[in-house]
């Protein structure tokens, strides 16, 4: 015969996602099946599961917002930039031609739909310019497209001639960061890291000098490592380790 798995009140509380006080009260009131031994309550796991099912009570702790630890490994701007690569002398003299040439160069996984991607990028620019000022634009699709991406990728493209992009500060754009992410949360995290880099004076200077991969990526790595050292994981929004019983 299979041996019954015994639980203490604390384990039942976490199984049912209720406070310990509630479990003890239920036991005392006889609402939940339990045994009394030496003034201590103990519970049989199968009985508790059956009881919860028959009373339509959910089992397990309350669901947490999202498994954040998994995405944390993936969210790394330097790696994304490494995957997206850096391109020089992107031709074009208006938003459409620039984007069209950019999409043509993008390292997309086989099966990625270039036509769809271009449409989405143009569509996004029509809603609001991604020119975030100081000659930088960050074209990206509105939704994560079915590009069969496993990881986010960011491609830095220097324009051969600075182009009018309807940027917030009105300045022509000389550098594009084309951002493709598998999910929206990942996109937001990559974006927040990119914004952090752009605030860094040395990084902007490298960008301004049209520096190559060998200079840009180490700089990004440096900024990202500083981020984790200085602020700890807390400074990265959405990486809090706080308990979330009631989101």
């Amino acid at each position: 015969m299979k041996k019954d798995n015994l639980l203490n009140p604390k384990e039942v509380a976490s199984l049912l996602g209720t406070p310990l006080v509630t479990v003890l009260r239920w036991a005392y009131q006889g609402k939940i099946p339990c045994r009394l031994h030496d003034k201590e309550y103990y519970f049989v796991e199968n009985e508790i599961r059956r009881w919860a099912r028959s009373h339509h009570l959910p089992l397990g702790p309350p669901p947490r917002p999202a498994p954040r630890n998994k995405t944390r490994v993936l969210v790394c701007l330097s790696a994304a930039l490494h995957r997206g690569r850096i391109f020089f002398d992107l031709p074009g003299n208006d938003i459409y031609s620039v984007l069209k040439n950019a999409v043509a160069r993008l390292p997309l996984p086989s099966g990625g739909n270039q036509k769809l991607l271009l449409d989405e990028l143009v569509n996004r620019e029509e809603i609001a310019s991604t020119g975030i000022g100081r000659g930088v634009a960050i074209p990206h699709p509105r939704h994560p497209l079915d590009l069969k991406l496993e990881f986010p990728q960011v491609s830095l493209m220097y324009l051969s001639t600075p182009t009018e992009f309807n940027a917030v500060d009105g300045k022509p754009v000389f550098a594009l960061f084309v951002m493709l992410s598998p999910t929206t949360p990942v996109h937001l995290k990559i974006l927040s890291r990119l914004s952090l880099c752009l605030q860094d004076k040395d990084f902007y200077r490298l960008l301004d000098q049209r520096s190559s991969q060998s200079e840009i990526i180490p700089k990004v790595e440096e900024i990202e490592s500083r981020l984790q050292k200085n602020h700890g994981p807390a400074a990265d929004p959405g990486n809090s380790k706080g308990r979330t019983p009631h989101p």
Binding site: T18, P19, V21, T22, R25, W26, A27, Y28, Q29, G30, K31, I32, R35, L36, H37, W51, S54, H55, H56, L57, P65, H231, A234, A235, P237, S240, G242, R243, T244, P245, H246, P247
Partner: protein
């Protein structure tokens, strides 16, 4: 030495037994004890009443109830330290809020009290005292066997059922009374011990007193006229019930308003009951002899006498119970009902001399059922009691009609029955599966949200930004830095307008934007009260503060979450 040892072993075996088996065994035990208590009171009353009825001098007739009531008050209030009254609300209260816990002394105090009150000529019934005794016996037996509250509630109800079953020799009535009045729900889980106790109590009563039917009647041939006539009877009885309920409430209030000392009240009440008895001897005691005469057709009186007798009985009962006597309204209601039936029959034959009716006895039976249903608002108890104590099923049609009609009519005027009235007034009427009951089970400590990030009043807004980013919640308790004394709450909503302005970000401090005037609740506050505060203030969350220490937060969302779980846990699968 071997007896206590085996007793302890029996107890341990019972404690670890399957709960259903445990309930059966405890149910039998409770039925035995409770049945014995009921039969004991019954025999004691018969013996003492026979003695006191021989005393017929007018002075003694007045003096007897005075002595009886004073003795009752002395014994109950000063010797045993329990309360007077009929005690059924106490059982209902215990079953609905205290998991069926009752004092051990309640198992005999009312027996003694009602013996003194009724044997000395006070007008009251022995049923409510045996109900509370039986319930207290059940409660204490199940506490001894460490039963959980669910079992204890069922067993407490079983004690009451056995008591009613034993005193009337009526097992079904015992069962139905417990389900309808005491427990207030027909839960399959508690029916088993209640039924077993009812059966055991009845067996005890039959073994000791014989299988006698209290009120034997002749067979009826109920015709359509009778059935139609019962509709009018129901109206009359509903009116009587309402008058009786009011008299009961007022007598207690009036007596305690004008007479402060409990003994003085007993003196006055006893004297008044004595004077009533002097003129109308039928009001004394529980009055079963009168009922017996009525339904066997041996009693006859003029219309006016019957009406006066009904009112006198109401008054005498109200005075007896209002002045501290111990006893119930079961028996008086039966007396009034049977008299009311007779009165109605007399009026009917006077007005419709050509129509044939079965007889006064049938109307007396229907009257008893109607009056009981009306005053207790328990129609099923009324019907089955009459069917069982008269040993006849032939009157079931008028009984059914009059009981439900009367209950409904009384309920039109009075929302709560006489048993629930006091509880409802104190907000303690918590019937199973009602909102109030679920809220009463939840405790503030279970709803507490902890793990909030505290802030200090001197913190600049800028220092809050990382906290806001980290926190899953939109509120922060503000604690004094040196002793962590709770000062107020900081709500994200209040500060978000400043967060994006570098000027405010650097210049504002927490103290300037926190809220300090929100209500705080104590950890011991009832959830019902907390919800009222939510409703009054429109707040979404309230800080729980004890002696200046911040314990956590209670929010509406958490209450909903726990409320639903509690509701699900309470529902029998």
């Amino acid at each position: 030495m071997s007896l206590p040892k085996s007793g302890r072993r029996f107890r341990n075996i019972l404690i670890n037994m399957d709960s259903r088996l445990q309930m059966i065994i405890i149910g039998i035990l409770v039925g035995l004890c409770s049945g014995l208590a009921a039969v004991g009171l019954n025999l004691g009353l018969e013996t003492f009443s026979r003695l006191t009825e021989r005393l017929t001098q007018p002075g003694l007739i007045i003096l007897l109830p005075v002595t009886g009531l004073i003795l009752t008050v002395l014994v109950l209030k000063y010797l045993i330290r329990d309360f007077g009254g009929h005690g059924v609300p106490e059982v209902i209260h215990s079953v609905s809020t205290r998991g069926g816990a009752l004092k051990l002394r309640s198992s005999f105090s009312r027996l003694l009290g009602s013996l003194l009150t009724i044997a000395s000529g006070g007008s009251a019934g022995p049923e409510a005292p045996v109900v509370i005794s039986g319930a207290a016996i059940g409660s204490n037996i199940s506490t001894y066997f460490k039963s959980n509250e669910k079992i204890r509630v069922a067993v407490t109800g079983s004690g009451a059922a056995a008591a009613i079953a034993a005193i009337f020799n009526a097992p079904v009535t015992g069962f139905i009374f417990t389900m309808e009045v005491i427990l207030g729900e027909w839960a399959p889980g508690s029916m088993l011990p209640v039924a077993i106790s009812s059966v055991t109590g009845t067996i005890v009563s039959r073994l000791l007193k014989g299988n006698q039917i209290p009120f034997v009647h002749r067979q009826f041939e109920v015709n359509i006229n009778d059935i139609l006539a019962t509709i009018g009877l129901a109206v009359a009885l509903a009116a009587f019930s309402l008058v009786f309920i009011r008299l009961l409430k007022w007598s207690g209030e009036l007596l305690s308003r004008y007479l402060n000392a409990a003994l003085l009240r007993a003196l006055a009440g006893g004297a008044l009951v004595g004077i009533l008895t002097l003129f109308l001897p039928h009001v004394r005691g529980e009055g079963y002899r009168l009922v017996r005469q009525l339904i066997s057709g041996q009693y006859s009186a003029t219309l006016l006498t019957v009406l006066v007798l009904i009112l006198a009985k109401m008054l005498a009962t109200s005075l007896t119970l209002g002045s501290g006597g111990s006893g119930g309204i079961f028996a008086p209601a039966l007396v009034m009902g049977s008299l009311g039936g007779l009165l109605y029959f007399q009026v009917l034959t006077l007005m419709l001399p050509r129509v044939s009716f079965t007889g006064a006895a049938l109307f007396s039976l229907a009257g008893m059922a109607g009056m009981l249903s009306g005053t207790l608002q328990a129609p099923l108890t009324g019907i089955f009691l009459i069917v069982e104590i008269t040993g006849g099923y032939d009157a079931i049609l008028p009984l059914l009609l009059v009981s439900f009609l009367c209950t409904t009519l009384v309920r039109l005027v009075d929302e709560h029955s006489i048993y629930f009235y006091d509880l409802a007034r104190k907000g303690q009427l918590l019937r199973p599966r009602t909102d109030g009951r679920i809220l009463s089970e939840l405790k503030a400590a279970e709803l507490l949200e902890t793990g909030l990030k505290p802030v200090h009043p001197e913190m600049p807004l800028k220092a809050l930004v990382p906290l806001i980013i980290q926190s899953q919640r939109n509120y922060f308790p503000v604690l004094r830095k040196k002793d962590r004394h709770f000062l107020g709450m900081l709500y994200f909503n209040d500060i978000k307008q400043y967060l994006f302005d570098p000027f405010f970000l650097n210049s504002l401090i927490v103290e300037e934007v926190m809220q300090t005037d929100m209500p705080r609740v104590s950890i011991n506050e009832s959830v019902r009260r907390i919800l009222q505060i939510f409703d009054h203030t429109g707040a979404w969350s309230l800080p729980v503060v004890e002696d200046g220490r911040f314990l956590g937060l209670i929010s509406r969302a958490t209450i909903l979450d726990h409320y639903r779980k509690e509701l699900k846990a309470q529902t029998e699968a």
